[in-house]
């Protein structure tokens, strides 16, 4: 694989990553998705999961995102993450508290509208993914 594309990862607070990479695996809402240069243009929603970046045939960077969106064009991928942390600096304690909060929110959401329940469910799934990632880096 010779080609590269521009990967940009931004969270509301700052620009986390902006450089040319060979491949990125992003956790799209309907399954993990590997993106290579020249991908068809897409806009996808993300669920909580890990973005891995491949450069020079090796995974050089792994970041946990808690949901968001990605815009894919043949020569550029822009990930708008709700929040993003490098996997290495993810702590088990933080993941556990996030999970607890999400579970509580889910319990509260049982009586609300389906949309609210879906939202709480998405948060819960993202928190679970965070725990899994934190425990097995």
């Amino acid at each position: 694989m010779a080609g590269t594309f521009q990967l940009e990862l931004v969270s509301p607070a700052r620009l986390l990553l902006s450089r040319a990479v060979e491949m990125a695996v992003i956790p799209a809402a309907e399954g993990e998705m590997g993106v290579l240069p020249g991908h068809a243009p897409m806009i996808v929603a993300l669920r909580g999961g890990v973005i891995s970046v491949t450069e020079g045939g090796q995974v050089t960077e792994r970041l946990f995102v808690g949901g968001g969106f990605a815009e894919i064009t043949p020569d550029r991928v822009t990930v708008l993450a709700d929040d993003a942390t490098p996997v290495a600096s993810l702590s088990k304690a933080l993941a556990a508290t996030t999970l607890a909060a999400a579970e509580a929110a889910m319990a509260d959401a049982q009586s609300l509208t389906p949309e609210k329940r879906d939202q709480a469910m998405a948060t819960l799934l993202s928190a679970r993914a965070m725990v899994v990632t934190a425990e097995a880096p």
Binding site: V10, A13, L15, A28, P41, I43, T78, L80
Partner: protein
Amino acid sequence: MASLKMLRMRINSVKSTRKITQAMKMVAAAKLRRAQSQAEAARPYAERMERMLASLGAAVATSPDAPQLLVGSGRDQVHLLVVMTADRGLAGAFNSGVGRFARARIRTLEAEGKTVKILSIGRKGAVYLKREFASRFVGEVSFQGKKTVEFADAAEVVARISKMLEAGEFDVCTLIYNRFKSVISQVPSEQRLIPAPLPELQTETTSGPQAMYEYEPSEEEILAALLPQNLGVQVYRAILENSAGFYGAQMNAMDNATRNAGEMINKLTLNYNRTRQANITRELIEIISGAEAV
């Protein structure tokens, strides 16, 4: 003429005022730098969000079941004004500038027969507008005591706005805040949030015609998640610009105050020395005339 002691006391008090304003200026300058870098760091996200929304929004806006957050309720009767000011004063005309702007806006809207509701962010604006428009208040938010404003805080405000929209409590939502033009100039300005002003599609000329995107899951689902997020970004950006502007204004105000205090000290010192010399001269005359009389 004031006595020497009085003059000395006044000089001392002005000197300590100058020390305080000087310290406040330094603090404001340091905080300004932080607020500015935070505002700059948030810019890429907002820009990319805008780009994504432009391609998405244009496709959906024309369909009849477009989400309310994008097209509003189709009416133009009840206006919600989100007025954003600082929590603290001592920043020159920063807060009252926004207040005046908001007041003029409210007056014109009401003259047109519209209903106005106010949601204030920041304590000072609430105090300013409550004097006249207390009955129009629907809520106030304050970030007082917080060191930095996080995106989650903006999201909270947005959650409140969208809840009101769902309940049909307003038709048009406008944000009024101080745009950060430069350190010395903040411009009170307004920005419509709902219905969302769709950015021009033809802004990007680099990639030729807009690429057709595939969506996963569906356009509607992505849009439903993207819109609140976009609103949050807008509010977040306004909050950051507002706080950067506040520190800029405060720095200027304190700079002026320090300068004025310096001028006052000079004047008072001159006055003090004149009085002192006049006293000495008078005493000399008394002594000499006393000696002559003997």
